[in-house]
Each structure stands twice: as structure tokens, then as C-alpha cells.
């Protein structure tokens, strides 16, 4: 039995991760077409494409600028919620994490109705001043929305770096006579540098990966980036573009390797000993300033997150586009028409739920035996498999999607049966894509789990099944719930992979919102966006509350 499991752990990644990517490479080299041998025709055509330099330039510009903005905002937010004594920190923390829970296309919709050319804010300004002050369109709008939606990455990393700093370092500086400002600048800040560097790489990679924002904002304003270009080559222009799309995907994949390369070079932050007594963190008293800071933080979150969501909600209640919303003409017609006029929405909801549930369960199940080996019986092969599992998530989603499409679209030899069009091909993309989350979930769980617990069970005479069911799993409930919710949410609102892979008979929610938006059904897509926001927030709030109640841990703080 052990051998069967081990072979599966080896064979499944080869078949479902390595083979599709290899296939992508061979298609781009023209191996699958008539000519024998390798040809660089597709790459040649790509180079001649007058669009390509602009597209690469757009992609890099957006990635670099949005990364800088995300870093700045994330670091500021982390300092404010972790190192000051401003009131209501728990609430601010949740709002700062919020953008990472929402799919980026929902943020795009919300932002357009908030600060777009005819958004709520410009409407107010027009009313108050008789003119608009700014006109965010095109590439700047993409940069802003991307910075907002990737800000939580920087926030979370910097926050955990700050919280890991042992209090006695700061105490030592204080005893030596440094003022709080000096302590902060010369002790705390330098210790966050590795986290900032990591956050920069992650934000950059996420920006290359993102499809929702350039698709919802970029396509209408004629700004093309690599992910939308691949999509358009496959979906927009029809036949004969597969080889070129594959070549483009290979180029994009190589570009996304830049951050991975640097990841290895980064100095990984200091490891602190986790003795009791070091855990207390030091916060800085802001005195009278704290209310000013609260005001600033409130405005900041109002402008970047809460305002857009409210704008989306208000628009979804308007009777028709361009008609100002008043209390008397407020209408739920668009919510109703989501169900009555568009049966596809109900189908999409069902499909996405099913996909998310199956992906979550399968990912967690498949990751279990590998994670166990990673923690308990590490070997070069196991480390290699762990690395392979991370590949589909490190590569941009559009590249993975295209690889899966090209690999599984053709009818199975000898039959007319193809995986394309149904749920299977989507699962073949979702499961490899989220596999690494499953592994991370279980490895963190096992890392804090003492093997003696299991052995105690064995000694007491319980079989392996009983031990897993009665001892191991209950201990892992927290991690399983957290990791599972993350995978579920990612799969439920997925757009990038499904935009290529969802056939006409099996649309996903993301694809439906996308097609509504391109069809100009802004009021309905705002309504659906609002529903998705509420669902996502409800689910994650429920899980957070459950986990917090479970932990019941209190933060210890000392003020300086």
C-alpha cells in the first residue's frame, strides 16, 4: 500500500503538472504540427508583432509601479496597526486584509463605479465644483486597482515580521538611551527589510499573474498586457493562433521566473528564539496624535476599500444607467433579473460551488501524504515534489490555463470524447494550481505537531485509521479549516483559468461576471459583484470568528 501511495505521489504531478507544461513548450516550437522537428516560426511571428513591445512595456510598468505602491501602503498599514496604540486596531486589521479576500475583478468593478470617469466621486466633484479633478483611465487605473488589491500581501508579510521582533531588542535600545523614534527607525525598520523584499517579489509576481484587472479595465481602454494578450489570441481571434499563444505563454512564463530567481538570493530574515517573555510586543504611544491617525486611516480605508464597495452597491440599486439614485427610485430589479432573466447565473453558481468543493477536498486529500513525508521523512525526491507542486501557482494563471487547454482539448485517441467543455478540464487546472496551498496547510499543521501524540495512540492499541481520525485530524482542525477556506474561495471566484477552459456548457461565476461586463450589463454585474462580496465576507468572517474563538489567545503588549 505504501508503495502505491508513493508511486501516485510521483506519477500524478508528472502527468498533470510537468506534462502539460512540456506540451505547451512543444506546441510553441511547432512540434505537434505537420513539420517534423523544432521550428521557431511562432516566436518569429511574435517578434514581428508590432504590438508586443508595448504590451511587455505595459506589463512591466504596471507590475513595477503597483508593487512599489503596494509595498508603501502595506508597510504603513502594518506599522499603524501593530506598532501604535490607536484605537480599534482589530477592526482596521480586518479591513486592510479585505482586498485579498475579494476577487480582483470585483474590486475592478467597484473601483470603476467609485473613481472611474463617471464614478461616484467624480459625480460629487462635478456637483460641488462644477468640474472633475482627475480622470483616472487606462493604465493608471489598472495600477491603482492592482496596488489596492495586492496591498494585503505586503501588509501581512510586514506585519508578521514586525510581530516577530522580540521586545527585548527595543528595550535594550531604550535602556541605552534612544528615544522611541530612534528605536523605531534604527531597530524596528531594519528588521522588516527582508519581509519587504519578499513582499516586493510576491506583489510583482501577482501583478504578472493578474488577469481580472487588465481584463475588466484594460481591454475596454485598449491597454493590453501579457495575460490579456494570451487570452485574446486564444478566445478573440479564433483559429491558427494556438502556436503563437503558446509561444507568448512561454515568454510570459520565463518573465515570471525573475522573482523566483531572486527569491533564492534574498537574505531570509532573522530567526528569533521563541522563548516565553520575548513574546510581548512593544507598541508606541501616539498620545494626542492617535485621533489624527485614526482619522487618516479611516479616510484611507474609505477611499480604497469601503467607498468602492458602497459605490458598487449603490449602482446595483439604480433603476437604469445614468439615472441618479434616489430613495424613491431605488430598485432591486437587477438582483431579481439575475435569477429570472439569466438562468446562466444560477448554473454558474452551482458550477463554481461544485468546482470549489471538489478542488478543496481533492487538494487537501492529495496533499496529505506528501506533506506527511515532507515533515516526517524528508528526502531529495520529496523536496523535489514539493517544488514541482509550487510551479503551477508560481507561473501566471494564463500560462497554466493554456498548457492545460492545449494538453487536454484533443479528443482521446480513437474516440470522439474530449475533456473540453465539461468540469473535468477545469479540475485538471484548478487542482494542480492550488495543490501547493494544500501542502502548506498540512506542513504548517505537522510542524507544530508532536509525533509522540500519534505514537501514544499506537501504544494504546489504536489502529492507524483510529489514530488519524481521533488524534491527528482533530488537532489539525484549525489549519484544515483555514487552508480549506482559502482554497475554496480562490476556486469559487476563479477567473483566469476558467476564462480559457470553461466551455459553453459549464460556465463559472467569474466567466459570467466577465461576460456581463463586456456585454455592458453594468447594473447586473454590480449586483452580482455585491452578492459575491457579501458571500466572500460572510464566509471568511465566519471562519475567522470560529478560529479566533477557538484560539482564544490574547495579545500581550507593553507600551513604550
Amino acid at each position: 500500500m505504501k508503495r502505491i501511495v508513493s508511486w501516485c505521489l510521483l506519477i500524478l504531478p508528472i502527468l498533470f503538472i510537468i506534462y502539460p507544461l512540456w506540451n505547451l513548450l512543444t506546441v510553441s516550437l511547432g512540434v505537434s504540427t505537420m513539420q517534423q522537428g523544432i521550428s521557431l516560426t511562432a516566436y518569429g511571428q511574435l517578434l514581428q508583432d508590432p504590438q508586443l513591445p508595448t504590451v511587455i512595456q505595459n506589463t512591466l510598468y504596471i507590475a513595477v509601479v503597483s508593487t512599489i505602491a503596494s509595498l508603501f501602503m502595506g508597510a504603513m498599514a502594518a506599522i499603524l496597526t501593530e506598532k501604535t496604540d490607536i484605537p480599534g486596531r482589530q477592526g482596521w486589521r480586518l479591513v486592510f486584509i479585505l482586498p485579498v479576500l475579494l476577487p480582483s475583478y470585483v474590486i475592478s468593478i467597484a473601483w470603476q463605479h467609485w473613481a472611474g470617469p463617471v464614478g461616484l466621486v467624480n459625480g460629487w466633484l462635478q456637483h460641488l465644483l462644477g468640474r472633475t479633478i482627475w480622470n483616472f483611465t487606462g493604465i493608471h487605473e489598472i495600477v491603482i486597482v492592482m496596488a489596492i488589491s495586492h496591498m494585503p500581501i505586503a501588509y501581512l508579510l510586514v506585519r508578521s515580521a514586525i510581530n516577530a521582533i522580540p521586545g527585548h531588542l527595543e528595550d535594550a535600545a531604550r535602556i541605552a538611551g534612544a528615544r522611541p523614534v530612534t528605536v523605531f527607525a534604527s531597530v524596528v525598520l531594519p528588521l522588516t527589510v527582508p519581509a519587504l523584499a519578499n513582499a516586493a517579489l510576491l506583489c510583482f509576481a501577482s501583478a504578472l499573474d493578474n488577469f481580472g484587472i487588465p481584463a475588466f479595465i484594460g481591454i475596454p481602454s485598449g491597454i493590453t498586457v501579457l495575460s490579456t494578450l494570451i487570452y485574446q489570441k486564444v478566445i478573440g481571434l479564433g483559429n491558427g493562433q494556438f502556436e503563437q499563444a503558446a509561444a507568448l505563454a512561454v515568454v510570459t512564463g520565463l518573465l515570471s521566473m525573475i522573482p523566483v530567481y531572486f527569491q533564492g538570493k534574498i537574505f531570509h530574515g532573522p530567526k528569533y528564539s521563541r522563548e516565553e517573555g520575548n513574546r510581548e510586543k512593544r507598541v508606541y504611544l501616539m498620545g494626542k496624535w492617535k485621533w489624527l491617525l485614526v482619522l487618516l486611516i479611516g479616510i484611507w480605508q474609505g477611499v480604497t476599500v469601503i467607498g468602492p464597495c458602497i459605490a458598487m452597491l449603490l449602482l446595483s440599486l439604480a433603476p437604469a444607467y445614468g439615472v441618479p439614485l434616489t430613495l424613491s427610485n431605488l430598485s432591486f430589479a437587477h438582483y431579481i433579473s439575475l435569477w429570472t432573466d439569466t438562468p446562466v447565473v444560477a448554473a454558474g453558481l452551482r458550477n463554481s460551488l461544485l468546482l470549489a468543493l471538489i478542488s478543496t477536498v481533492v487538494v487537501l486529500l492529495l496533499a496529505w501524504p506528501l506533506a506527511r513525508r515532507i515533515v516526517l521523512a524528508p528526502s531529495p525526491l520529496v523536496t523535489f515534489l514539493d517544488g514541482i507542486a509550487a510551479v503551477p501557482y508560481c507561473l501566471p494563471g494564463m500560462v497554466v490555463g493554456l498548457a492545460v487547454l492545449l494538453t487536454w482539448i484533443h479528443p482521446i485517441p480513437g474516440t470522439s470524447f474530449s475533456l473540453y467543455g465539461g468540469m473535468t478540464i477545469l479540475l485538471l487546472a484548478y487542482i494542480p494550481r492550488f495543490y501547493t496551498f494544500g501542502i502548506r496547510t498540512w506542513t504548517t499543521a505537522w510542524a507544530r505537531f508532536s509525533l509522540q501524540m500519534e505514537e501514544a495512540g499506537h501504544v494504546a492499541g489504536a489502529g492507524p485509521m483510529t489514530v488519524t481520525r481521533r488524534i491527528t485530524l482533530p488537532m489539525f482542525r484549525e489549519e484544515a479549516l483555514g487552508g480549506g477556506t482559502l482554497i475554496f474561495l480562490l476556486a469559487f471566484t476563479e477567473l483566469t483559468l476558467s476564462s480559457l477552459l470553461a466551455g459553453s456548457q459549464f460556465p463559472t461565476l467569474g466567466v459570467i461576471v466577465f461576460s456581463m461586463e463586456t456585454a455592458g450589463r453594468a447594473l447586473e454585474s454590480a449586483a452580482l459583484g455585491t452578492v459575491l462580496t457579501l458571500l466572500t465576507l460572510g464566509l471568511s468572517a465566519g471562519v475567522c470568528k470560529y478560529l479566533l474563538d477557538e484560539k482564544n489567545s490574547e495579545e500581550k503588549e507593553t507600551k513604550i
Partner: protein, 345 residues
């Protein structure tokens, strides 16, 4: 040191079982036609570019008449529907039974590829002879002129608006139009304009110089004009009239120079497993009942015995721009390519 629990192997078995089951789900075999007691039944997949709300009302009317038929709809822009079909052909199976797309040249191209089923509906009596396909591969269902939608808060003199208004420098950056890479109507319009001496390809170049915005679909054009983001939009007429009805601050003008008119044909895919249901669907769209339904949704009917929507000019009263359909089909790909180069995709 660690014995792998039996649970692991059990889980893997479960996984394989689910994979096999799922593979089964992927292979949704189309239900073959069953005509019990003369009643048509089974599944019918329609690929269309009609707005969701319009097609769902049409389907509701159809299934009321044929309760045994389950209709499923896939909606996208015409060009994307075609791209989807090309992808499906690579997968070895076209999912559609019925195609209901923007314009005749699209169907001509499908006819050349031998993808359509020959069917002459009995409901074509009221349709003008010159609109019909001589090979009976597809049938026109409506008359949809393409004109200009105007935001009435921003523009007051509606009568003067013609195609040239959009390329005048005082209206720089004020026009939005759908992309011929997505919308069949826009692709048709481009084809027709290219063959008119007074407009031509240079008209598109002038629009580009005048900073026209290109969005994907016609609906998006309406949205941006209704919200006041843009003053003018090139768009299919019924969407604009429906926006007026809903209270959006817009008006629609048929330009004096003339309009390209798409006919939103319907056709049956040759590989259909349910030809009886597909034919019933085509008949229903063309029937007096189907035409009345279209009129209620703001379309000009193709059947001249059915009246235009209240307060609207009949199709016969409009100046229509034309070009030989063969030429339009031949030029389509080149048009799209030139458009991509000019506007950058």
C-alpha cells in the same frame, strides 16, 4: 518509522473513483431526438449574441410552446462565439445545435466551411426575397440598423448628428464604439463602411485620430453614453431605444448618410443531434409570435406583415447602406487585422 495509514490508500482510491466519475460528467451526450406522440423533446443548445434578457424571454416563449424541449443558451459576442466554435472543433465536437448570431456574412463563412444544415422554414413568406439565403442555410430574423446613440445631457442638437459629427475635432475623445473583434455588428459595420466611397477605411482612421474609445460589446457602448462618460456611441438601434425606455438620458439617430443593417440570422449546425427541435426553434423565431416578441423587445421585425415597435420608423423607411455579401465575407479577416493594427487590438 511511520506506517502509512490505510486511510491514505483509501483516499487515493476515492480520488481515482471521482476522477472516473467526473470524466463521465464531462461527456454529456446530447439526448437524441425523441418524438413521442408527435411531441418534440430533448436538449437544444443555442449559441447566440443576443442580450441575455432578450434571448431568455425568447426561450421562455419557445419552451411554453414546446415544454418537452430543454433549451440551454451560451451568449457572447458574435466573434467570440465563432472563436469558441473553432476551439470546440479542435476538441472534436461542436456543442451548438442552433446559431443565432449578428450578421449574414458570419453565416456565409460557416456555410463555406460546410457547418450548416439546409433548412427552409415555412415561416419566411413575409420576408423580402433579397434578404434570403439562396441555399437555405440560414434565415434573417430582424432588421437591426446601426446608428448613433447620443447623451442628451451633453448634446442638444440631435438633428445635425451624422457619421461625420463623430470625426469632427470639437468632439474629440467623445465617441465610443464596439470592437469588430468581438461584436458581429461592429464587424459588419466596418465591412460596409469600407465599401462606401463617402466613408471608407479613412473614416475609421479619422475616428482613431479623434481618440475614439473601443469597447467590446454594444451594451458597453450604451452604458458609457448613458452614464455621460462619452457623448456619442456607434451602436445597434434597439439597445439605444431600450435605454431610452428605461429612462437613461439618451437618444438615437439614424444617420442621414445611411445605416448598415444586420439581420441577426438563425441557422442550424449540421452536426446537431436534435434537428427536429432545432427546426422548431427556427420556425418559432420567424413565426408571427416570435416576431411579435422581438417587436416587444424593441427590434424592427424582418416580417413586413408585423408592425414596427410603437413610435418607430419601419425598416423600409430607412436609408440602408449595402455591399455584396461575397465581398464582405472575403474582406472580413483583412478588416479585423487592419483594425488590430490601427487600434492595437
Amino acid at each position: 518509522m511511520i506506517k502509512p495509514g490505510k486511510i491514505q490508500s483509501l483516499l487515493l482510491w476515492l480520488l481515482f473513483m471521482t476522477t472516473i466519475l467526473l470524466a463521465g460528467c464531462g461527456a454529456q451526450q446530447p439526448a437524441a431526438t425523441t418524438e413521442k406522440n408527435g411531441e418534440i423533446s430533448g436538449k437544444l443548445q443555442v449559441y447566440t449574441s443576443q442580450p441575455d434578457s432578450d434571448i431568455s424571454k425568447l426561450v421562455a416563449g419557445f419552451t411554453k410552446k414546446y415544454p418537452q424541449i430543454q433549451v440551454e443558451v451560451f451568449r457572447s459576442g458574435t466573434e467570440e462565439v465563432i472563436a469558441r466554435m473553432n476551439t470546440e472543433m479542435k476538441a472534436g465536437k461542436i456543442g451548438a445545435d442552433v446559431l443565432f448570431l449578428a450578421d449574414a456574412p458570419t453565416f456565409e463563412a460557416l456555410k463555406v466551411q460546410n457547418l450548416l444544415l439546409d433548412y427552409q422554414s415555412g415561416e419566411l413568406k413575409g420576408v423580402k426575397q433579397e434578404l434570403l439565403d439562396t441555399d437555405h442555410m440560414y434565415s434573417p430574423t430582424k432588421m437591426i440598423p446601426i446608428g448613433i446613440v447620443i447623451n442628451t445631457n451633453k448634446v442638444k442638437e440631435l438633428d445635425k448628428v451624422d457619421w461625420n459629427t463623430l470625426s469632427e475635432s470639437e468632439n474629440k475623445g467623445q465617441t465610443v464604439m464596439p470592437s469588430p473583434l468581438y461584436s458581429g455588428a461592429a464587424a459588419y459595420n466596418l465591412g460596409i463602411f469600407r465599401n462606401q466611397s463617402e466613408l471608407g477605411w479613412s473614416y475609421y482612421e479619422k475616428l482613431k485620430d479623434n481618440q475614439v474609445m473601443v469597447v467590446k460589446g454594444n451594451g458597453d457602448v450604451i452604458k458609457r453614453v448613458a452614464s455621460g462618460e462619452k457623448s456619442f456611441g456607434i451602436v445597434v438601434d434597439f439597445m439605444a431605444f431600450n435605454a431610452v425606455k428605461q429612462g437613461s438620458p439618451v437618444a438615437f439617430v439614424y444617420p442621414k448618410t445611411g445605416s448598415a443593417v444586420i439581420t441577426e440570422p438563425v441557422g442550424i449546425v449540421k452536426t446537431t443531434q436534435n434537428a427536429a427541435a432545432a427546426k422548431a426553434f427556427v420556425d418559432f423565431v420567424l413565426s408571427a409570435e416570435g416576431q411579435q416578441l422581438a417587436v416587444q423587445q424593441g427590434y424592427l421585425p424582418v416580417n413586413k406583415d408585423v408592425n414596427a415597435p410603437e413610435g418607430r420608423q419601419a425598416a423600409a423607411a430607412l436609408k440602408i447602406l449595402n455591399a455584396p455579401i461575397k465581398k464582405l465575407v472575403e474582406q472580413r479577416d483583412a478588416n479585423k487585422k487592419d483594425f488590430t493594427v490601427l487600434f492595437g487590438g
